[in-house]
Symmetry: C2
Subunit: 420 residues, 2 copies
Amino acid sequence: MSEAVIMSATLAAEEVLERKRRNGQRVLSLASGEIGLPVHASLKDRLSAAADQNAYGPVAGSPGLRTAAAGYWARRGLDADPDLVIAGPGSKALLFAALMAVDGDVVVPVPSWVSYSAHVRLIGREPLPVPIVPGHGGVPDPDLLHGAVSAARARGREVKAVVVTIPDNPTGTVAAPDIVRRFAEVASELDLVIVSDQIYTDLVFDATAPASSPAEYAPERTVVTTGLTKSLALGGWRTGVARLPDADLHQRLRTIASHIWSSPPAPVQAVAAYAFDEPPELVSWVAAARALHEKVARALAARFTAAGASLHPVHATCYLYPDFEPLREHLERVHGVSGGRGLAALLLEKHHVGVLAASEFGEPDRKLGVRVSTSHLYGDTDRQRTAALTADDPVELPWIKACVEHIGSILTDLTGRATS
Amino acid sequence: MSEAVIMSATLAAEEVLERKRRNGQRVLSLASGEIGLPVHASLKDRLSAAADQNAYGPVAGSPGLRTAAAGYWARRGLDADPDLVIAGPGSKALLFAALMAVDGDVVVPVPSWVSYSAHVRLIGREPLPVPIVPGHGGVPDPDLLHGAVSAARARGREVKAVVVTIPDNPTGTVAAPDIVRRFAEVASELDLVIVSDQIYTDLVFDATAPASSPAEYAPERTVVTTGLTKSLALGGWRTGVARLPDADLHQRLRTIASHIWSSPPAPVQAVAAYAFDEPPELVSWVAAARALHEKVARALAARFTAAGASLHPVHATCYLYPDFEPLREHLERVHGVSGGRGLAALLLEKHHVGVLAASEFGEPDRKLGVRVSTSHLYGDTDRQRTAALTADDPVELPWIKACVEHIGSILTDLTGRATS
């Protein structure tokens, strides 16, 4: 494997924080996007009820799960054939396998999630970075995409696919429908397979403005992936689904799946089939979680803005992506910090707060940005987390309020400005 | 991905049989090695008890699981450091990732399990086939290994690893300690990483003659993998563990894991930690399963031998690997069959019996062999399967006896010889 592939930054950061925690250090994790909320009781019941299921079943997942996933997409206006759906142990595994199945160089937006470029390098190909339109994260700027791919092809590179994230990680923004449409047109002109990671679809704050998918505009070339990690806090259960655009790519991905993971864990498949059917109690739960993410993210965003960082309005997910460029002179002079990695290190060492440097998402080392996740702020116990989920004003709960205040003080220490 | 990679033959065969079954056809599956036995009650209880665990946890698996796995190996005379253990969603995923971490061409024994060569091709490398010593499956013949690797290297190939299976799939044999030792010596001389798939360790029929591992002779270069799929019939739960020989390979594999599967499913990890501790009720269960495999495998082996196929004595697993070469003239003349694939197709189409052709395991197309698995013969219901597990003479149970007789009649039809 390429030496350029390093450990997943989100998972690595979480392990460092866990070690500090075990050493008795009080830490604040804003690093990984793991959702710190309890498992819904109905999901636990279904896992227990499926504990006698020990057969592999079909490589692509059970017919019930695939049908449920297709229904989930249909309710969001996306055409999906259960026979072209593949379930896997997390959407991460499916994204990796989809890129392996396509087997070419891959356009990745800058910034974008830590694993896409790693996936491309693991299959022996190269990522081709293309910037986003600021405020419309997760999608390469359509005006730059054509030129970048054409130039790379002229240099002999075999560019075959492009990855997008809608809604976006790390920026917490949602690319506007017009940008997604234009992107899909350019990708079609370039004959690129589009791999659309839509794991945050259900975490768009404004339910009247759902996220667009390239599959609306170019269904014949778009792979869509999602999972239950973000909406239902089931990261540790490892379950995801992919919608494949055609039988050929489906067969390739299924072949890869058959040799890497065989099939998704059977008891978890039973849970996932139930969850993708979206029974009312889970729909309410997701709505409550979404509202919680929104309120806490907005409260934190206000602190970063007050401290002088610049920040595009956050419309989805549990992420903020503040840019400290307006504070560069101060940060360099007072703290000797001149890039995102230095900023993240300072926050970790001096304040025991974990965040991820912008460079982990493909940005230049010089970029004075970090990604901040709110998803670990909801409580330390199931009781606190459940209270956060049901509170009208979760930011007023003492443990969340204390975290927000604490982050405010740290930002004041960092920037010299009051944040409240 | 290479066009040479085809769908896992075992999983594909099982899907074909399932489709026939759904169409109302009575089929007999001797194709996949999935263990058709029920989940032990204590494992179901532990899965339910762990249903609130939704965090990713460490990429390499929980400390409890890694410590339990190291203990499991220690009880079998293998040195393993919990900090150098990695758990994954099945040992298949770990085998793939280990080969990706080593990143070179790989020696594979002929015959050997269907996925090794696929793994090597998926990472863009080439398998280097080396024959086994007949009757000592799963390990390349030490006398041929040196020459084969040296010649390949002289041709410019970067051969870096060798995969072995002890006890062996597909042959059901166990390489003798002397062969394993000599193999490890040659692999050391050649500076190869040894990847030792030991998922059948607990299915050696004679408990006084346990299987050897190359890790006894070359621990510094041997990766050992195992899982709960075979001994505890937990294939569908997807859990495996790998013992890494050094920190460098451990870090590479962990990096790959962090980008492909993040961590093994958390509730299943809790079960696996319990199982690798080997509490008495599970040790008894494994002993009963082993005895069942032995009795049914021997009963079937007798039919194949009576029909004129040649067969090395089966010492482990639930597999037979009969060679119909002695019957070639008859099979060609009467049935127009001249290779393993034709034989498997005849059994499937005429008799609705699924087996795998020897060519699926890397043998020449002309090889008149098939792999036969007994693991689906134990019953159609949990009641029957539990009865099989507890019977003194399971072959006398009506549903197993009927299957054995039915296979006998098919062999008589095929070969013209009485089999009982």
